[in-house]
Symmetry: C2
Subunit: 107 residues, 2 copies
């Protein structure tokens, strides 16, 4: 793998999970908020437009599954099985973030 390729893969990952809202949205769904308004209610600062855009993005990247029920008509979002493939990245990021806070507050 060239440095160029490695950088591209890194930026792909950042593109998929980066930004202010994606991880909080995944967490909201994972905690049982499957409907749009429930997700939105659990994240008071997010606008409808941004939530729609981010859900679409998460769906395109296979991290979230959108299901439409006919009667009664309802749309639900669930975290995909594929999302579990992100857990090693998330684990390392949590670990690093925790140590980084200590490092920055020490000095």
């Amino acid at each position: 793998m060239t440095e160029e390729q490695a950088l591209k893969y890194l930026q792909d990952t950042l593109f998929v999970v980066g930004g202010k809202w994606k991880l909080p949205i995944l967490r909201a769904i994972h905690s049982g908020n499957y409907r749009f308004r429930d997700i939105q209610r659990s994240m008071p600062l997010i606008t409808t437009r941004v939530l729609s855009k981010e859900l679409k993005h998460l769906e395109e990247n296979k991290l979230v599954i959108r299901t439409v029920y006919q009667s009664p008509l309802a749309v639900e979002y669930k975290v995909s099985h594929y999302m579990h493939s992100l857990l090693p990245v998330i684990k390392e990021m949590i670990l690093w973030g925790k140590n980084h806070r200590k490092k920055i507050s020490e000095e």
Copy 2:
């Protein structure tokens, strides 16, 4: 660790390494571009203002060390030893990004 704390640490890490330019800047410095104009020359699309802002941010987060030499007057940027603590995160992100490309292009 509560879910709230974990999310905060995650967002800290994304805040430090996220965005379009930080990782390419670190890579440019790591490849031997220690002066501002060398970094900028190796990244044609970045503006002076953005490069200054991102270098300051990387310095505040201890990933880059800025050294001022007196005579002749010169400023150099080097990747800090602390930067190596990010390697596990970067490794996992490269791995995930590589597999994600395959996953998305398969379907």
